[in-house]
Symmetry: C2
Amino acid sequence: MGVAERRRRSADPVGRTVEELETPALVLDRAVAEANAAAMGERIARLPAALRPHVKVHKCAELARLQLAHGAIGVTTATVAEAAAMLEAGVPDVLIANEVVGDAAIRHLVATAGAGDVTVAVDDAGNLERIAAAARAAGVTIGVVVEVDVGMGRGGARDVVGACRLGRAAAELEGVRLRGLLGYEGHCASEPDRATRERATREAMDRLLEAAGRFRDEGLPVDVVSAGATGTFDIAGAIEGITEVQAGSYLLMDRFHAPLVEGFGFALTIATTAISVHDDLVVFDAGRKAVGADFGPPDAPGADGDFAFIHEEHLGIRYPSGAPFRVGDRAALVPAYAPIAVNLFGAFHVVQDGTVVDRWAVRARHGDP
Amino acid sequence: MGVAERRRRSADPVGRTVEELETPALVLDRAVAEANAAAMGERIARLPAALRPHVKVHKCAELARLQLAHGAIGVTTATVAEAAAMLEAGVPDVLIANEVVGDAAIRHLVATAGAGDVTVAVDDAGNLERIAAAARAAGVTIGVVVEVDVGMGRGGARDVVGACRLGRAAAELEGVRLRGLLGYEGHCASEPDRATRERATREAMDRLLEAAGRFRDEGLPVDVVSAGATGTFDIAGAIEGITEVQAGSYLLMDRFHAPLVEGFGFALTIATTAISVHDDLVVFDAGRKAVGADFGPPDAPGADGDFAFIHEEHLGIRYPSGAPFRVGDRAALVPAYAPIAVNLFGAFHVVQDGTVVDRWAVRARHGDP
């Protein structure tokens, strides 16, 4: 038995308890994820909009299927690779809520189009033409939505005139099928004050619906009007004319989203081990390469812990009233921002009643084979 | 031909130019990496210390072999998984410059020990005993170095008495072989003022050498006295008694390390595409999931660019004097901190004279199968 084989055997986690996992490990509480999916399904069913959850959060086909089982009409992605991974896993209908630019990326986009419906955002006429040409050459049809900047100031046509110009071009080009509009109110989605968030989201949706009205006036299709994050899904999704919301973070949750929305639990944690304890300092084996620190460090485990440092493989916490962890003790960290933490791991350990029941791949990370 | 097969064919990068790669892409300039490896080899040859470069920087067996070809005596890693990946790839001698704690991690450590020499840091007596017991049970021997806190305040025995107690225990236990001491002057390594850095590094090394002297007095082995980062390798490595330095970032370089050391070029860039251009704003397709933002955003491409935002898949730059990029234009980003950026990708695109000549895997990311 070679080293590789021995390593694989010793590392097989299914059937082990969470406490037995090698750390750091990405742990998905299956019951909490299912409860979150069900809760969103019930809440969406009472709104005019449908749910097309953003899978950049988990990059996981099994979690996408869980969302489909609870009423999602398809999925939203940020990249072609995510779309391809979902289509290959049998998710039938994918919206890429982003511009796809460049010959290689467009070739990749067109290659995915055989496996299901793919729709991509456009905000540039030349890019639209290149997508259409590539689709025609491959004998496929790519759906397109025109992205409108609803105030975030990232992608998207800056005004209704520009959006309509793109819409007309898309309607006339062979190789693409115009499906409607997309806007992302990212500038509203994390506003802490709910009343302010509601007002800002409604203003943003007014811009999107103005474009939708002009599309209708010009006889352009508007089957899809997509918007809505976890912090705004029940605002945007309650507005007549918004056909689908992209909310995705509700499924795993994290410290960033918890103050923005009620009714969803923490399904995602990073299992970690105290590897070094000296005086009031406990060093855990989950650093920037396991939880990320873009959105701040995770909460300190235990009571009365103060964040001290986070390095690539270390998280240091000081406990002024005495270290409550000894070397070898375990903790579960709730990440500040789940999509960043998930993207650092190759797989979820799926846990039910404290036992690992499955291992689900995190797909379509950059540079994956 | 199925979708997966079409996708793979369309994505095969070898033989393409950098401009033809789907972005974001991790690009290694082979000539620069080789020049960096050679330059370090020449500089280390003039110092009393040997080089055992830290491969957490690149997690790449091919790059480790390049370093071995330029005089490195083995490699340093931060995790068992990195050690296992290196040993499986034929790198014969690995120092894990970190504590390895917990049954699963120790099982993994012991499983690697058949393929070459493995040495691990210890700073806790109970953990040392568990490693020794697991090694005995498996019939292997694990090298150990006692970690001494040289002022950084992370892992390591806090004083010489504690270090010697661990050293004596390691010398007496079967299953482990005491090799010496390790200290990491992380609190000095990025001090911008060279004179201050030199003084602080020498003070830190004094603590390590004091422990080494006591080890000798007690008849304990000190074949290894390991320290030294890219910012301090020529300070620590010039001190008699420091047997090896762990410097690793010199090989790829990044914005963080460039001000700290001369003579090494930027071997690593992230290829990106301008996917959305509006007024003075250019949005590139390389965000937090491609370059990371833990250590700040990458430098703005082109002249006169001001950082505007970085999201998961977007980098926004404003150009007050007019956007110099159109949709589809390419740029190369030098990351703020290479080890974070590398860890976001599954592979390097190895480029020579503008053409991709190979694809080298990034190994041992957390949760990899």
